[in-house]
């Protein structure tokens, strides 16, 4: 029997790989987010989030000491 700590630790290593690794085959990635039954992510829809990022002006200002 595995202990809780063992399961947690293994889960961390699993999630690291499962959600970030593996070969990418073009397709819609279907995700399920809490309180929403189904979220179809159309990869082209990312354009809108990127466009709004440009508006936000997200380069941090550096201090004068540098």
């Amino acid at each position: 029997m595995t202990t809780i700590a063992e399961r947690e630790v293994a889960l961390i290593d699993l999630v690291d790989r499962l959600l970030g690794g593996g070969v990418v085959i073009a397709g819609d990635i279907t995700l399920s987010v809490a309180e929403v039954d189904l979220v179809y992510v159309q990869l082209r829809a990312l354009i809108s989030s990127v466009a709004s990022a440009e508006e936000k002006g997200f380069l941090p200002r550096l201090g004068s000491a540098v």
Binding site: L14, D16, L18, G22, I25, G27, I29, T30
Partner: protein
Amino acid sequence: MIELYALTDHPAPSLPDGASLSTVAHAGLAFVWGPAPTPTELSPELLWRHEELLEKLMEDRDILPVRYGTRLPDEAAAAWALCERHHELALALDRVRGAVELSVRVIGTEREPPPADGMSGTEYLRAREQTSTARASALRTVHEPLSLSARASSERAPRAAGELVRAAYLVDREAVQEFAATVTRLQAAHPRLRLLCTGPWPPYSFSET
């Protein structure tokens, strides 16, 4: 909709029962797929079940795991993807042939307090320097020797508190126990570090085309 699980050689041993799996094949490669399950909230159980399926496949064949959650409209789309990307997929599968992935994390026990609000600039730099030194040292004493005994290695940004190294190693199946023994030896040689090695995993971190 169908969900893709893994890329394998074709022909291959018959699929494990009980998961309504099918294959679609072309020129020596095949995708293992199943009907797309109804979307449910992501949970550890869901992930473990997916993982167990991949590991069952991995028991008697080499696999290239497909990114979790990859869905295509139907089998024809999978066949098309297989033909379209055949060359790079074949290369990717060859790269991991006969090997599995092992994970290693290294934590330092002499932890400097993490950057906190109210920390002075000088304290921050000192903490960063200590972390930087500790990481470089752990890479040299742990990651390097392990990389030498693996087919390939990949390192990620350390994430958790006190974490110095978070790495993945592509290790020949027959060399797994020896690798684990090396980790144990390295642990014994560096009592102020804590090493964790988990696996074998499907080669998630070495699946890029």
